[in-house]
Symmetry: C2
Amino acid sequence: MNLNLGLFGFGCIGQGLWDVLHRTNGLRSSIARICVKDRKKSRPLSQDYFTYDKDDILNDPEINVVVELIDDADAAFDIVSKAMRQGKAVVTANKKMVATRFRELLDLQTSTGMPLLYEASTGGSIPIIRNLEEYYDNDLLSGVEGIVNGTTNYIFTQLMENPERGYAHALAEAQAKGFAESNPSLDVDGWDATYKTLIIAAHSMGSVLDPRQIVRRGISHITPFDIAAARSLGCTVKLLSRVLLHGNGFSASVLPALIPNSDSLANINNEMNAIRLHGAFSDDQLLVGKGAGAHPTASAVLSDISALRYSYRYEYKKLQQADAPVFNIGNPVRVFVRGPKELLNELPFSDVHVDHRTSSGSYRIGDLSLLDLSRSFAFNSETCFIATMVE
Amino acid sequence: MNLNLGLFGFGCIGQGLWDVLHRTNGLRSSIARICVKDRKKSRPLSQDYFTYDKDDILNDPEINVVVELIDDADAAFDIVSKAMRQGKAVVTANKKMVATRFRELLDLQTSTGMPLLYEASTGGSIPIIRNLEEYYDNDLLSGVEGIVNGTTNYIFTQLMENPERGYAHALAEAQAKGFAESNPSLDVDGWDATYKTLIIAAHSMGSVLDPRQIVRRGISHITPFDIAAARSLGCTVKLLSRVLLHGNGFSASVLPALIPNSDSLANINNEMNAIRLHGAFSDDQLLVGKGAGAHPTASAVLSDISALRYSYRYEYKKLQQADAPVFNIGNPVRVFVRGPKELLNELPFSDVHVDHRTSSGSYRIGDLSLLDLSRSFAFNSETCFIATMVE
């Protein structure tokens, strides 16, 4: 099958894809047309490639694959759904669109018969979706957890090295290096990781969540005191995405985590991503790769394009299993909470393991459910730093 | 497609597969018959499952998949080729058979039209073959390297912790723990890793080597002096499988390696395996998983069985590319050689970086080609320890 590509968006990833397509052998595909928004921006390619009218791609019968690489999730959904209805296969890197419109996109795949692939949406260059679909479909997965946001990982790496400089400085440095957007909320408040976690949960647990169901807290409340506490506990701080099976239920969360230094996830630094799968038979597996960057992301897009040559599509086998686990955040987990004593006292711990009180700060380490945690005053207060404890 | 399995061999992996098949959902497959050799051995299943005549499986038209899990590579090839000619798909874990009969097995796949899958042959539970086939087929892979033998990794882990106990003690401990065979040559002389390296080279570089072309040296020459030297250089010792592109050529080797402690491969311990892929676009990726054990290996076998449901087969895309790189071990690499001065003097280093001479031992670190290295007296002498330097 000859692939004739229509590209939406020509930013960092789009240009990366252009490079990658022109340097790889053996893939019969070419970019026929590129739809962009800004007429004034200068482009590194001949103007002939570009159009400002999306219908020039959507209505072109010669274009059989649409590659969607724009930022806006709603505009992306509009493009993707129209392309599929026009009988075009779609490859996208838009995690927010995939996560927030998951069911609609499933229905579109069924009704149009067209494949929709989105490896680049999750874990950067790590082939996590394809592996969950293909390789782990019959292994009883008891959990998938990892570092799926490169920006926050870069910030934490800086903070662990120079805690005294503080969060604001580390964030500014990440922005200066191009690892964080000027509006960093998507990353530092955990939304980016939440969308990816939702996608992982769908492919590993067979359940489509609403993003608001995922227990989420950002990283911006961290102080040098918290980092010193983590160090004294032999831990490193990371933003951890977790999808964990407990009996017939599973939980999903995006929270800062205290990870023992001996754990391989503690040693994943800077913009790297890592995903650990706990399988009943395969045992623990760890996949590590670049979580961001034009070429790593483009390489994931390319692998989807390549898979379309042999009509690959996700089968969503786990979504079709009748006995899929149900979402349940009632099980106790171990957490670290630093904050004012009155907020610590209010937390309904079933067990308190550490009650640390000094004049410079107080924290508790204890067990409570993610449900109780997310409903607590502490969780909703700027004055607390909260992290799960990885054992 | 309903899969009706005929199993050859019921050792550790065969029994692991039985467990795994009976604890997993959603896979319509069942073991119809198991062919074993030893009539006297007691079996954990009803005698009805077992046969001692391979034709009971090979001639059974109801059986559409043969799973080959025996030790003997020649007997395995006989079974596999007959099964394919009888129109049965085959799954095997036999790395020696796959590596030594690669071309014949390719021809058999073409002439019979039957798929042959062997994920379990390489990297234990790590899905390396499928990922090389599917995910990296259009990424320009500049190298694949890793720890692919769990036994030697267990031995090196013990040796780094307690160098004074010596190699013989570490080997005996590995044997006692069931990580090494009573005849350990297959592991400690690097043959097991060599077969796996050949399979990786075929799927990553598109070239089928003879196992004897792969530059191979075992681990048994290591002494406490070598371990102390590695430590003083900030390194850990591992047996490293390497398939590396240099220009239009590629090299393949299985050699002890001095790996800087800061490198993630240095921290892969005990029976774990790890494979690092260097891609032009995806950048470095690391896959880590259990390299041995009944269930991890069975889980790889299971994933192959599962893939047969949708008629998956390896496409060997790289083998079909006209411009595949050619085998070439003429490029300089950095090596560590400890041994008698007359053998060190004889080595045709293009550059010597360290020339360490003390009364307790002498070593040199320098650059020379794998070709010159493999032809040297040092390489063929029991009195030398040789390792590549990982940068």
